[in-house]
């Protein structure tokens, strides 16, 4: 068991080479089986997942686990499944990819009896195809050491360049940007998607974005807003909440999150349709989402847990930083996945056109 673990530690390439070698030695008596391949979003987060879930699971089962990183993108998953046998088994996906793929049938249906039943998850955490793994937020962040007099309280302040002069960082996507714009224009979190559902509402959001255009800096990778905040290139920025807590803990920065009007969503594990190791994948999902395992995650990165029992086991010192903490959740907006599934393509095109102007 120790030995298999070492092989996987040497890296996927070596493991694969050895698998090929073994297959050749056996002179084709059996096709070489691909190791269970798990794909997540990389970075610190995946490092934590590797320590908490991938390695222990490999040791438990005695079979190596390959882990790869991706940057999201529904087209990638669809292409893999359409190509025949996908070379990934378990993938962590965002809510929109989950909904699209489940409707398109590119994911395996999960066996919820093995996963402890849908009731053990928070709302939206358990679907036919996906088992929620984390809850994460897009929220406003600022440097607590720099904004000492007044602090932003929400998107209206984010748009207020007189009170808070300077550039603002915003994720370069229609999703989040349009919600933020409407909330800045006075729409309450609960009504955002109702307004956005009308063409007038979309126009209103774009008009509000127009106002802030000269002061906007766009970011795409999650690490970018952190460095922009640290260097002072921007006075505030939308961020992925987990990154802020992590940075404060490791580098002693004093970046602050604004939970008010933050937008949260669930990331889930899915199994690609036709995946070679779908049974092992199912076992892995059950293992990683088991409360005693999953509850260790917030210590490494401040993402909330969609498994109710796991969330309860998180120590209070970490729990306050999570999107799922009751006080935080109360002032947050839940990303409307259905809205974005329907409108993403059209709004993304329009957003890109707007950005490109």
């Amino acid at each position: 068991m120790q030995k298999t673990h070492k092989i996987s530690a040497f890296g996927p390439r070596l493991a694969r080479a050895m698998a090929v070698g073994a297959a050749l030695t056996l002179a084709g008596t059996a096709a070489s089986a691909r190791d269970l391949t798990i794909v997540s979003f990389g970075g610190n987060f995946q490092d934590a997942q590797r320590e908490l879930f991938f390695k222990p699971f490999a040791e438990l089962t005695g079979k190596p686990v390959l882990d790869e990183a991706w940057e999201g993108g529904y087209g990638v998953l669809q292409a893999k499944v359409k190509a025949g046998t996908p070379n990934w088994d378990v993938v962590q996906v965002e809510a929109e990819e989950l909904a699209l793929g489940c409707a398109d049938g590119i994911y395996e249906k999960l066996d919820w009896e093995k996963l402890g039943g849908k009731d053990s998850y928070i709302d939206g955490g358990a679907t036919d195809c996906g088992a929620g793994h984390i809850v994460w937020s897009v929220a406003i962040a600022y440097d607590g050491n720099k904004l000492t007099d007044a602090q932003p309280q929400g998107w209206e302040d984010f748009w207020n360049v007189e009170k808070f002069p300077g550039k603002r960082g915003l994720r370069k996507s229609a999703k989040y940007a349009l919600e933020a714009a409407l909330m800045a224009d006075g729409v309450s979190g609960a009504e955002v998607y109702d307004v956005l559902a009308t063409p007038e509402g979309v126009d209103r959001a774009f008009a509000k974005l127009d106002e802030l255009r000269p002061n906007l800096v766009w970011w795409e990778a999650g690490a970018q807003p952190l460095s922009m905040l640290q260097t002072g290139d921007v006075v505030m920025s939308s961020v992925y909440n987990g990154r802020i807590t992590g940075l404060n803990r490791t580098e002693g920065t004093n970046l602050k999150l604004v939970w008010n009007q933050s937008i949260y969503a669930v990331d889930s594990w899915v199994i690609l349709a036709g995946a070679e190791n779908k049974d092992a994948g199912q076992d892995f999902i059950a293992f990683s989402n088991a409360p005693e395992n999953l509850s260790k995650l917030p210590e490494h990165i401040a993402y909330g847990l969609p498994v109710k029992a796991a969330a309860e086991m998180v120590p209070a010192e970490f729990a306050v930083d999570l999107p799922t903490y009751a006080d935080n959740l109360a002032v947050s907006v839940n990303l409307d996945v259905d809205y974005w599934v329907d409108n993403s393509e059209e709004l993304t095109e329009r957003f890109n056109a707007w950005v490109a102007q």
Partner: protein, 388 residues
């Protein structure tokens, strides 16, 4: 055994033909078909596709068409195929995602259900129009959309509503940026190649090495190096502010300047090498000869050296331009939002929205553009010494 040598020759080149076919012709054909066809609707909803052509677009379609649609839904058992239809229809008309999900479930439960009761959107002709528009397995809508055009309800080609799509703008920007990079490469590369061709020994080795060296480093590394040099607290800005030349950092990165600068650096070898290779075949004393015949150095350059290096200049310019058109990483890392090039749009369509037809259509337009340029190149670069 007549014809056997030909057969043998054919067998010899078979691997080559196979390679060409597999890695060149086949993908090309795939791209072309993808860009003009999307058979999802006609395949999954054959009955509806047959009938809906007759619908006049006013009000909800006839009961017959609606029945055909329900029958198609019942008949469609492949979820992935239904997914394809949904995605296609949602591209044309936002909202089809949720509408189809709801409808498929309802119709499978009760094949005779009234669609308008399942969802009131079925009473909206716009949704039926989307089905009608996509009923044919062949369409020019992707190619049109790739340049921000569409067909209006009368079927004539018109520009899309402003602000809805920026493909054409980005395509033009790509061409413009590429032209700029080409020009920068030319301005730097032509004298550089001339100097390299005129010196000998270690000097030539150093000059050529300097231009070749970047080719041995990965594109990503070079781009990252530029990020370090150009950023607000990068070397250049530190020196400038340190010397008191500028009061604050100059904006060197996340704009067109950074993109053009880095692309020029990366693509310079493709300009220098063709010019250099042409120039070293030019006899060294042609310039001397011109001078002895009374030509001022500038006139000698214009009349003799420049025309002779023109073939290299044209090859270099085209190489740089055509390579630039496909650039993706450098503009993404060094450019601002307004500097992204067309490849990023293709990537967006392919990896994000899984709209392979749009990706193929823009790719095809790029391909046609490149081929046109190549044709121009072929005409221009015909060897004047061989031309009759």
């Amino acid at each position: 055994m007549k014809g056997s040598p030909r057969l043998r020759a054919l067998i010899l080149i078979a691997p080559l033909l196979f390679f060409l076919g597999l890695f060149f012709v086949w993908p090309l054909i795939t791209v072309i078909t993808q860009s003009v066809s999307d058979p999802a609707v006609s395949r999954v909803l054959p009955r509806t596709a047959d009938l809906i052509g007759d619908w006049d677009g006013e009000g909800a379609p006839s009961a017959e068409i609606q029945a055909a649609f329900r029958a198609d839904i019942v008949g469609a058992t492949d979820d992935q195929a239904v997914g394809d239809v949904t995605r296609r229809l949602n591209s044309s008309k936002s909202g089809f995602r949720s509408l189809m999900g709801k409808t498929v479930t309802a119709v499978r439960e009760n094949p005779d259900v009234d669609l308008a009761e399942v969802d009131k959107r079925w009473a909206d002709p716009a949704f039926w129009k989307a089905i009608q528009d996509n009923a044919s397995p062949y369409t020019d809508s992707f190619l049109l959309a790739a340049v921000d055009m569409e067909r209006d309800s009368a079927g004539s080609v018109v520009a899309m509503k402003e602000g809805t799509s920026a493909n054409f703008t980005i395509l033009m920007r790509t061409l413009w940026t590429s032209a700029l990079v080409m020009l920068c490469c030319l301005v730097i590369g032509l004298p550089y190649a001339m100097i390299a061709a005129s010196v000998t020994g270690w000097k030539r080795a150093v000059l050529l090495g300097a231009v070749l060296l970047p080719l041995w480093t990965s594109l990503l590394v070079r781009t990252a190096a530029w990020m370090i040099i150009l950023q607000d607290n990068g070397i250049i800005n530190q020196v400038l502010t340190g010397l008191g030349i500028t009061s604050g950092p100059l904006a060197l990165i996340y704009n067109r300047f950074g993109v053009v600068l880095a692309m020029t650096h990366v693509l310079l070898p493709f300009m220098v090498l063709p010019i250099y290779s042409v120039l070293i075949t030019v006899p060294g004393n042609l310039m001397s000869a011109a001078a002895s015949l009374g030509a001022h150095p500038i006139r000698a350059f214009l009349r003799v050296l420049l025309p002779l290096s023109l073939r290299g200049v044209i090859s270099g310019a085209l190489l740089v331009f055509m390579t630039s058109i496909g650039y993706y990483i450098t503009p993404a890392l060094l450019g601002g939002a307004g500097d992204q090039m067309i490849s990023s749009v293709i990537a967006e369509y392919a990896t994000r929205s899984a709209n392979w037809s749009m990706a193929a259509a823009i790719g095809l337009i790029l391909l046609v553009l490149t081929l046109a340029l190549y044709a121009v190149y072929n005409r221009l670069s015909r060897d004047p010494i061989q031309a009759r």
